[in-house]
Amino acid sequence: MNFTASKQPENCLLGPESDSQRTLYPYVTGTSVVALKYKDGILMAADMGGSYGSTLRYKSVERMKPIGKHSLLGASGEISDFQEILKYLDELILYDNMWDDGNSLGPKEVHNYLTRVMYNRRNKFNPLWNSLVLGGVKKGEKYLGTVSMIGVNFEDNHVATGFGNHLARPILRQEWHENLSFEDGVKLLEKCMRVLLYRDRSAINKLQIAKITEEGMTISPPYSLKTYWEFSAFENPTQGAVGSW
């Protein structure tokens, strides 16, 4: 029991301590999401892992979900916050559909709405601990954007979260081009995901690729990537070396 009440300094903006109900650190997290624009729409890839710290606790977490008719949302970071966001969006889409008036929220609108939500939460020092990727197609226009947990948002031809920014984006910058075919897009995403699998400790070899086009959205069933470990540098790594590398 705490007999000495901890007092905040007078100029503290954090609010009464008793409602310590704000997110301080994430618990169950997903790792990178990678996405790119291709000829007919957007391709997005994410693995199905949910880590509990350094333990790979959950191995069937779907980190990409359809939103309304036109959008696809992928998330990394705290899984429970992702589920909260899905609830917000579900309500948003519901009200949008209830108007029943031929207008509908497209990916740009959903992305902006999410930016507002994330930024407002950050301002209250109670963030949703996620990095989101929002892609979609509406009336032939492809849209791909991202929002971080502090509300940083932008659109681009290819985006990634977390480690994907460091490992996948450079590959995409070299090899992405306008009007990729579906097969080339998938190959490119798989190349990125393979690098992440090798190098990101929280990645698992079970991923899904989602596609969204004007016609609709599909998510592939989970599958794994082929990996290769027979590099000569890996054989006898300690031979003649001071350290293992």
Binding site: N103, S104, K108, N112
Partner: protein, 277 residues
Amino acid sequence: MFRNQYDTDVTTWSPAGRLFQVEYAMEAVKQGSAAIGLRSKTHVVLGCVNKANSELSSHQKKIFKVDDHIGVAIAGLTADGRVLSRYMRNECINYSFTYDSPLPVGRLVVQLADKAQVCTQRSWKRPYGVGLLVAGLDESGAHLYYNCPSGNYFEYQAFAIGSRSQAAKTYLERRFESFRDTTRDDLVKDALMAIRETLQGETLKSSVCTVAVVGVGEPFHVLDQGTVQQMIDAFEIVAEQEGPAAEPDVDSGQEASAEPEPEQGAAAGEGVAPMDI
């Protein structure tokens, strides 16, 4: 409508199932100076008659820009109209900020109607005494709505409200079938002619009327007096001469299409009925 014992407050029904206060509010709209609206597939034009109280004063502002893609013309208690315009502007701005996208006019109109309805069901409020012609665009094209103090709203191909609006309505009823596919300039011309009908013989000058346009690729704006006067001169000269266009020298290239019979340009056959509920 005669005074009776059921018209003291808005929360009292009459035995015939009427809310007299609401109906009296609609009377206020009929007393205001005329406002008209008409639309084609891609454009909507609003016009109104602006009479200044005296030569010394400026005239009432009756047309308000609500957003780049929405504008409104009012008739009735202009103070109520101003307040509602501010509400509409607020709603549009908030939507744009949250979604980075323009608020569809159909949704704004429903929000406005719901706001008006509240005032018909609270004993401490009174209905808004203003009718609004809302012109705007959304995903499905150009729209014109009429919001009345009762909380009802209707979509129209063309409509007129305010005093002597019946004359304008008669003119519009004759011509509305051609509006759907007409050009933007012809639509403005039709608006000016409808305004002229409400003036009952007075000369149509740009100083007594205001015209505003919104359309695909054209943000809502009020046409300046010079342009309006030019258009008036153009069709008045043509009407006098009765023949195919002698180019009026006042004019700019804009009015070169001032044919005496714009009906021919219309899509024949599929008469488009004004959208009524």
